[in-house]
Amino acid sequence: MTTVRIPPTLRPDAEGRREVTAGGTTVGEVLLDVAERFPALRARIFENGNIARFVNVYVGGEDIRTQDGLSTPVGDDATVILLPAMAGGVGR
C-alpha cells in the first residue's frame, strides 16, 4: 500500500486524516482509490480527468507534472504527497 499525505487544506474532506493508505501501481490509480473512500476529495483533486490546477502531487518528492502525470508509477513503499499550489518568492 502507498501512503498518501493530505495537506491541512484537504483534511476536512478526508475525515481529518493527515495521511491515508491506498492501493494502485500508478498515481492515478492510487488517487482514485483515495477518492473512492473519500468522495468529497474527488472534486478537489481532479479537474476534467486530470490533477486540478492548484493541486501539486509528488511521488518520491518529485512533482508528477515533470514525470508521467497520472501514469507516473508508484512503488509499494512510496509516499504520495498532495500540496496546494502556493506562491513562492514572497519570502525572498
Binding site: 495537506p7 491541512p8 487544506t9 484537504l10 478537489r44 486540478a52 490546477r53 492548484f54 493541486v55 509528488y58 518528492g61 518529485e62 512533482d63 507534472r65 515533470t66 504527497i81 500540496l83 496546494p84 499550489a85 502556493m86 506562491a87 513562492g88 518568492g89 514572497v90 519570502g91 525572498r92
Partner: protein, 323 residues
C-alpha cells in the same frame, strides 16, 4: 585639493561604476569540489549573493523597473508596490532609492522584524497583510491596492516577463560564457523567473540541458487552512518547461546550508541549501557531467533564524516561509 563637483567629472573613472545599478549581475561561478558526490561530475555554484544588495533579486528589480521606464509605464513621482518581505523588496528598495521612486512592500504580518527593519531602513513603507493568509494573501492584497490607487506601479515579479528576461540575458548568458558544458541547471522555485529565463538561454547553448527546480516542502502551519481556490501559480512559470521539480524539506535545506559552509566556506541562504541538496542528488544520477547550482543569496539575513542550534530543525522552521 578641492574635489571636483560631480557635474564636471574631470577625472577618468574607467574602473568605477557610476552607481550600484551598474554592478548588478556578472556574478562569479565557483566549483564546489568538496561537495560533488563523484569526481566525474563537476558541481558549480553561481554566487548571486554577490550582487550589490546581496541577492539574485537585484537582477529582476533593475530589469523590471528599467523595462517599465523604457515603455513609458513608469514615470517620476510614482510609487513602486510589491508583495515581498524579502530579497525582492530589498533589491527594489535599492533601485527605487537610486532612481528616486517611493516603494511600498506588502508582507504577511508575521514576517520577521529583521526583514521589516531592513526594508524600512532602505526607505520602504510597509503594509501588512493577514498573517494567516501567508504569501498568497500578500499577493492578493497588493493586487487590490494597485487596482484601487493609480499612484502605485506594481512590477509584480510573478507575472513580469522582465523577470524572465533578466535571467535570460543575465544569469543564463553569464553561465553560458563561464562554462563549456552544462548538463543540469538547478535553481530554487519561487516566481520561476530564474528557471524559465536562465533555463531557456542555457538550453540554446546546451540542448540536452536538464532544468531542475528545488521547491520547499512547506510545514502544515504555512499551508494553513486556505482553500485550494486561493492557490496560486505564477503566470511566468510554465511547469512544462521544467525537467525536474523536487521537494526539499527544511531539514535538507539546512543540511545543504551547513555543507556549503563546512566544506566550501560559502555562507549561503536557506534556498541555496535546498538547491545544493538537489544539485548533489542529480549529480549522483549522472555518470559524468556538469551541474550548476544557482545560489540566490548569502546567509546573513538568516543569522537569527531558529534552525542553527535547533535539535528538531523541522519543528523550528515549520511555522515560517523561508524562501
Amino acid at each position: 585639493m578641492t574635489p571636483p563637483s560631480s557635474s564636471s567629472r574631470p577625472w577618468p573613472a574607467a574602473l568605477a561604476a557610476s552607481s550600484l545599478l551598474d554592478l548588478v549581475g556578472n556574478t562569479p561561478l565557483v566549483e564546489l569540489q568538496r561537495l560533488s558526490p563523484k569526481p566525474s561530475v563537476r558541481l558549480y555554484a553561481k554566487l548571486e549573493g554577490q550582487n550589490p544588495s546581496g541577492s539574485i533579486k537585484d537582477r529582476i528589480a533593475k530589469a523590471m523597473v528599467e523595462t517599465a521606464e523604457a515603455r513609458g509605464e513608469l514615470q517620476p513621482g510614482r510609487e513602486l508596490l510589491e508583495p515581498t518581505s524579502g530579497n525582492t523588496g530589498i533589491s527594489l528598495a535599492m533601485v527605487a532609492r537610486i532612481k528616486g521612486y517611493g516603494l511600498t512592500c506588502v508582507m504577511p504580518a508575521n514576517a520577521t522584524p529583521e526583514r521589516r527593519r531592513l526594508l524600512e531602513l532602505m526607505g520602504a513603507s510597509i503594509v501588512e497583510s493577514p498573517a494567516d493568509e501567508g504569501t498568497n494573501g500578500a499577493v492578493q492584497h497588493a493586487l487590490r491596492m494597485a487596482e484601487d490607487d493609480p499612484r502605485y506601479f506594481m512590477p509584480f515579479q510573478y507575472a513580469n516577463e522582465a523577470n524572465v528576461g533578466a535571467h535570460y540575458d543575465g544569469t543564463g548568458t553569464e553561465i553560458a560564457g563561464q562554462l563549456d558544458r552544462v548538463d543540469v541547471l538547478v535553481a530554487g522555485l519561487g516566481t520561476g523567473g530564474t528557471l524559465m529565463g536562465a533555463g531557456a538561454r542555457l538550453r540554446e547553448s546546451f540542448p540536452d540541458l536538464v532544468v531542475a527546480a528545488a521547491e520547499p516542502l512547506p510545514g502544515d502551519p504555512v499551508i494553513g487552512l486556505r482553500s485550494l481556490e486561493d492557490g496560486y501559480v505564477p503566470p511566468i512559470l510554465d511547469v512544462g518547461k521544467l525537467d525536474r521539480k523536487l521537494l526539499v524539506t527544511n531539514a535538507e535545506s539546512v543540511a545543504g546550508v551547513r555543507a556549503l559552509l563546512e566544506r566550501e566556506a560559502i555562507f549561503a541562504g536557506v534556498s541555496s541549501g535546498a538547491v545544493v541538496h538537489v544539485g548533489r542528488k542529480l549529480a549522483q544520477e549522472l555518470d559524468e557531467g556538469v551541474v550548476v547550482c544557482v545560489l540566490a543569496d548569502g546567509g546573513w539575513k538568516y543569522l537569527s533564524a531558529p534552525f542553527w542550534a535547533a535539535e528538531d530543525v523541522e519543528e523550528a522552521m515549520e511555522k515560517s516561509v523561508w524562501w
